[in-house]
């Protein structure tokens, strides 16, 4: 036994040393970790989807084209690492690669990770490698900017609107011509008026807002209400939350949200695919729902309307966010990696990505081009996105802040226990502040 335990101690301490000192061991990991990118003109990219997905199919063609046409003789190689849920699997792989210094030259990352990755020097600024950055939507630039430098470029956008069932609205006596547009949005009060009309003609809740999805959705889709009211999650520098997240404006937004559940308009336990099957006339959801409806639920005649706005400000704000390209700090061929990112985020490539994948575009020029070609519901989302989209905050401890926000939404929907929203938000503002730098 003595021998055995000695052996174990030896092995484990060796491994410990190896793990702790891996900063200095780049030379030996490079030999087995990055064999593929050893050739001087080869650039490796990791992406979070599989080769067979719609994104993957577009990527295969893009890379083929890049390899044939680029003048520097660069060969790009893609490794497809499909994620689970919000990024599990793929992000685990990035994290593991960090401990062994075996990251590729280019990676994709979820937009809100930009601050943490940039602060930890996993990725480096892209400004000098990209020429045409003015054309990107403001939300793409906001999402990718940390300390005034552009660290990541989203290759598509996403957005949320209110899907409405035309038939059910007409049956309730709603004139579809009077529904709001991006130019003329409804205030929360007007929106509540519609809900009231629908509720009198309908048994049970009329709107699914995804309150049961206790995940990133709750910040992504609900923070625009806070912003529309003029509230904030933190100050601009991302250092304080007290005085912002518990402001009168923020409280008014959560009051609106709470009221939806309290009045019975929406529910914390919606029926799955309730909108698709004609159970609910209204559904707050993203662009992907259009594909589902078009492909599998053709009898549902639907349209999309924009977010309602705070009656105090009348300012329409809508959610945005996407996965983005970033260049690793460890790459030894930044020029080649930069050229690849420039190519992949060029107008034509982004157009192909957005059309091939039915997602919103990341560039204004692509948005203009797509508006001509897509159907009306998609037009609403593209228009809302490019005119009113706002990126989520860039914070190093974004996951913790996001979770606190999510908990705030959930707790406010338990209206009986949380009638005092002011004190709820005071507590939550303090909690968020502990996660700020």
């Amino acid at each position: 036994m003595k021998k055995m335990s000695k052996y174990f101690m030896l092995m484990s301490s060796a491994a410990l040393l190896a793990a702790c000192g891996n900063g200095e061991s780049d030379s030996d990991t490079a030999s087995n970790g990055e064999t593929e990118s050893a050739a001087s003109d080869e650039v490796t990219v990791w992406v979070q989807y599989s080769e067979e997905s719609a994104e993957g199919q577009v990527m295969v063609e893009s890379i083929e084209e890049f390899n044939e046409t680029n003048e520097q003789g660069i060969t790009a190689v893609v490794e497809y690492i499909p994620r689970s849920g919000s990024g599990g699997g793929y992000e685990d792989k990035i994290n593991a690669a960090l401990t062994t210094s075996s990251l590729p030259d280019v990676i994709t990352l979820d937009g809100p990770n930009t601050a943490a990755y940039a602060n930890s020097q996993i990725i480096q600024p892209l400004d000098e490698y990209l020429s045409d950055t003015e054309d990107f939507l403001p939300s793409i630039i906001e999402q990718g900017t940390y300390n005034d430098e552009l660290y990541s470029v989203g290759y598509s956008e996403s957005g949320v609107g209110f899907f409405y069932n035309r038939t059910m609205l007409e049956e309730a006596g709603v004139d579809l011509e009077t529904l709001p547009t991006v130019e003329n949005p409804w205030t929360w009060d007007e929106f509540n008026g519609l809900l009231d009309t629908l509720a009198t003609n309908h048994d049970g809740p009329v709107l699914n807002m995804g309150f049961d999805d206790q995940s990133e959705w709750l910040l992504y889709a609900f923070s625009p209400y806070v912003w529309s009211a003029g509230g904030e999650i933190t100050n601009e520098a991302g250092t304080e939350a007290v005085g912002y997240f518990d402001s009168e404006e923020t409280v008014s937004a959560f009051d609106f949200i709470q009221n939806l559940v309290e009045e019975g308009y929406s529910t914390i336990t919606p029926v799955e695919k309730g909108f698709h099957t004609g159970e609910y006339p209204l559904y707050m959801s993203g662009s992907w729902t259009m594909q589902e409806l078009n492909n599998e639920y053709e009898d549902i005649d639907y349209g999309i309307m924009p977010y309602p706005v705070s009656p105090e400000t009348n300012e329409l704000v809508s959610p945005t966010g996407s996965w983005a390209y970033g260049m690793t700090s460890s790459t030894d061929k930044p020029e080649a990696a930069g050229a690849l990112i420039e190519f992949l985020t060029s107008e034509q490539e982004l157009y192909d990505m957005s059309m091939g994948n039915s997602v919103l575009p990341a560039r204004q020029s692509v948005a203009d081009r797509m508006l001509e070609e897509v159907e009306e519901p998609m037009q609403v989302l593209i228009e809302q996105n490019s005119k009113t989209g706002r990126a989520r905050p860039t914070l190093i401890n974004y996951p913790q802040v996001s979770r606190t926000f999510q908990e705030t939404v959930t707790e406010s929907t338990y209206f009986e226990q949380n009638q005092d929203l002011e004190s709820l938000l005071e507590t939550k503002a303090q909690e968020i502040e502990t996660h700020l730098e």
């Binding site: 410990l16 793990a19 995940s215 159970e279």
Partner: protein, 314 residues
């Protein structure tokens, strides 16, 4: 195979002695023992023991996932933070509630199922597949279906409750009920696994023992109490220990069905550790949580083995 029968002829119902009566030099026994263990030791050492030791080390550091190179030794700092961590305390409270209920429910169900299957003469294979199927089912299917059945507004279960005149229940959306739903679904899903192990144990009980007790005039119930249960003792101990440990490690069901909510009522320690380490990237602190929590599990496992009557031969 012929010889095998003979072995049980001499069965006395007494625990076999682990110690061989044949004298061989201690040295040779040591060498043989290690030789048999060697493959397992290598695998467990490399992929379980060393990683665990590394985690132990990390619990004394400020390891942030994205900057492994900047990791520094910070002594007991993490453990100090941990002591005032209210979320961790909540999660430990939740898991004790879970363990208290799941142990009798799941083990009892498993034993019941094993006895049922072992007794049936026809359709054994069908029952075995049925009871075991939740174990091989994807959690996606299982949770989607249960979420549907338990939906407070339109779910099947509330419809049944209302038909028989009971009020509709909020189930997973209620902080008071969510954990009980998780307990039920976990027991439902896991019982087939323990049933399989109980079955293996039951099938190891020689028929002769039952025959002997029948001759002595014992009825079925006496047989169960005086033959089956005592003979199942090693298997039961194995199942109690592993079910307890697995119960303490609960993560998937709350992760899929409630994301730890509502209001943290189904947040378990392992889920909290996972979230701290992987979502929040605080590997150092998560390691400290693991070490602390591992200690708690070990204490309870040892207590349980003492309580149930530990195995003297270990």
């Amino acid at each position: 195979m012929k010889n095998v029968k003979g072995i049980f002829r001499g069965f006395t119902g007494v625990r076999p002695k682990a110690r061989s009566t044949i004298q061989s030099s201690a040295l040779k026994e040591n060498a043989t023992g290690f030789l048999f263990l060697l493959p397992a030791l290598i695998v467990l050492g490399l992929f379980l023991f060393i990683p665990a030791m590394m985690s132990l080390y990390y619990s004394f550091t400020d390891y942030y996932m994205l900057t492994p190179d900047l990791t520094e030794f910070i002594g007991l700092e993490n453990f100090r933070t941990l002591l005032s961590d209210a979320t961790f305390r909540t999660s430990v409270g939740n898991i004790f509630q879970f363990v208290l209920f799941i142990m009798p429910i799941q083990v009892g169900t498993a034993l019941g199922l094993a006895l049922l299957v072992n007794r049936s003469r026809r359709g054994t294979m069908f029952y075995k597949i049925a009871y075991f199927s939740p174990v091989v089912m994807s959690l996606v299917v299982v949770s989607v279906l249960w979420l549907y059945i338990l939906n407070p507004a339109s779910g099947l279960l509330n419809e049944i409750l209302q038909t028989i005149g009971l009020p509709a229940q909020p189930f997973l959306s209620s902080p008071n009920q969510a954990m009980y739903v998780i307990i039920f679904v976990s027991a439902w899903q896991g019982a087939g696994y323990q049933m399989l192990i109980f079955l293996a144990g039951l099938q190891n009980i020689p028929e002769e023992v039952y025959e002997a007790s029948t001759i002595d005039g014992a009825n079925k119930w006496q047989q169960f109490l005086n033959v089956t249960l005592p003979m199942l003792k090693p298997t039961s101990l194995l199942i109690l220990t592993t079910t307890l440990i697995d119960a303490f490690k609960l993560i998937i069901q709350p992760m899929v069905m409630t994301q730890g909510g509502p209001l943290n009522s189904t947040l378990t320690p392992v889920y909290y550790i996972f979230r701290t380490g992987f979502t929040d990237r605080q590997i150092g602190f998560a390691s400290a949580l693991t070490v602390m929590y591992g200690g708690i599990i070990i204490i309870f496992t040892v207590l349980q083995r003492k309580f149930v009557g530990g195995d003297k031969n270990e």
